[in-house]
Amino acid sequence: MKKSLIPILTVVAALVVIWYGAAVALNMPWAKDQAKRAGTEPGFSELVADTWSQDKPKLPAPHQVVVEIWNTTVVMVAKGRGLSKRSLIYHSWVTLSATGLGFLMGTVLGILLAVGIVYNRVMDMSVMPWVIASQTIPILAIAPMIIVVLNAVGISGLLPKAMISMYLSFFPVVVGMVKGLRSPGVMQLDQMKTWSATRGQQFWRLRLPSSMPYLFASLKVAMAASLVGAIVGELPTGAIAGLGARLLAGSYYGQTIQIWSALIMAAALAAVLVALIGVIQRVVLKRMGMA
């Protein structure tokens, strides 16, 4: 890890430099146009400074995004309005709650399906191909319909978004858990038989524990997918609340800085959630003596 720290930092620094450069290139026409209208002939350095401080740039410079995030989180909290509708914390919380609920539902559904598939031959043969086929359907595409239809039946708010998250996150869990529950070898299964273990004991004492590494690997994928589902699920709700709504509102009104700050926030959220699962994984596997 230590060995790769310098390369990672170099790459990140290079990306930031490229970002600044791209901001100059993309915002330059607008800056020149403005200068022409004002009838001034600014030097190159003034033009560059302008490209990094426009109100509605094509590509905001990194520090503009950072300032926007700072203003909509820490400053809002300092003012005591941390949960107002203009605060990014509020929108992140809306998205986070849908992500969490969808992730939980998806994980439970995924584990139940996996247990069924492992223990029931009919289910294995009939359900498994459809589970795989279900993911070739671009579910995000029908997210608007799901939201509208569920709204019409009277289900609104958190649940429709969570359902989309669930649909996206159950798949990695099913695939991982089926692999994990089948990972004990014939030798181990025979050993359980010689101890005259019941099917229940075989499941709780052998299959479930040995599936844990697979479960955590898929939980990470599922969490990332769940966040994407929640964000896309917020698009058709008419841009009321959530990071997805901020994206849509920003794109309607050309508020690029707002779009980018929502995007960075979503990225940070994803990173934190996945890292959280990583920590739980390390603790659990250590206590089980597997890592």
Binding site: V11, M125, V149, S251, A267
Partner: protein, 279 residues
């Protein structure tokens, strides 16, 4: 009432048939028939329940109505298919995967870049990249170019990470053998490392198929010309023409499965030597 009884009967029949089929010795025919029966049973139950409980077609149209609508509006569906799949998704897929592949080969030559880019690439691959869609639509306009750009961004990192991983899949012994043959970097890459990387590369290509479709469709929610699957879905939902929405979903599902299946077939042909493809 009759519909519900019929649906119940269909469920029982399908279930019995599958239990019976699953007990037979496993063969190609049974492993194909069981999921097909399962799917057909589901569709019949759907049809019966919608008719039996008199569910409004605004909420959930029965499959027969969707099929009729599909047959009646093939020209619209074809137009949307060309706009979204051929122009948006496919061009973006080829550009993104091709670019990622070339980048991976370059990165592979420089261990420093590899150690730095791989964790960053892994991180970016887990991010909600669909969120880039509004920005890219703003940059590249409403037509298919912006959709292709979204697809490029979405497929790039999964493909990159998989290819880089694949290029490391050879072990020291094999590379040493190449050296004893006096094979240079280019020959080793072409004859040993790229073939060995193929299972990983195809993994990336398969993941990218669904991402490409999703990217192209979702990008249309942020602005598009008056054709395209995403455009049709979002406007038809507004008009409560859910049968047309479902027809688009059928197209998307068939295209998605065919795309994935096609890449899988190609994989089978190219990596016939790999243990996962044998037996």
């Amino acid at each position: 009432m009759g519909w519900i009884v019929f649906g119940f009967a269909a469920w029982l029949l399908g279930w019995r048939a599958n239990v019976w089929l699953a007990r037979l010795p496993k063969s190609r025919a049974t492993s194909l028939a069981v999921p097909v029966i399962f799917g057909v049973t589901l569709v019949i139950i759907w049809e019966c329940l919608v008719r039996g409980f008199d569910i409004s077609p605004v909420l959930l149209p029965p499959p027969s109505v969707i099929a009729l609508r599909f047959a009646a509006s093939t020209s619209i569906l074809w137009q949307d298919f060309v706009q979204t799949v051929l122009k948006g998704a496919l061009s973006g897929y080829i550009l993104g995967c091709g670019g990622a592949f070339l980048t991976a080969v370059v990165i592979d030559r420089f261990p420093f870049l590899q150690r730095g880019l791989l964790p960053v690439g892994n991180f970016v691959a887990a991010l909600p990249i669909v969120g880039m869609a509004p920005i890219l639509v703003m940059w590249f306009g409403f037509d298919w170019q912006s959709k292709a750009a979204v697809v490029v961004v979405m497929v790039f990192f999964p493909m990159l990470v998989n290819t880089v991983e694949g290029l490391q899949a050879t072990d020291k012994m094999q590379r040493d053998l190449m050296r004893t043959y006096a094979a240079g970097y280019g020959k080793t890459l072409l004859k040993l490392r790229l073939p060995a990387a193929m299972p990983f590369i195809f993994n990336g290509l398969k993941i990218s198929t669904t991402l490409a479709l999703i990217g192209a469709i979702v990008a249309e929610f942020f602005g598009s010309p008056i054709k395209g699957m995403g455009f049709r879905i979002s406007t038809s939902v507004g008009q409560l023409a859910l049968d047309l929405v479902w027809a688009e979903i059928v197209v998307a599902a068939v295209v998605g499965s065919a795309f994935y299946g096609g890449v899988s077939l190609l994989e089978k042909a190219v990596t016939f030597w790999h243990p996962s493809q044998r037996g």
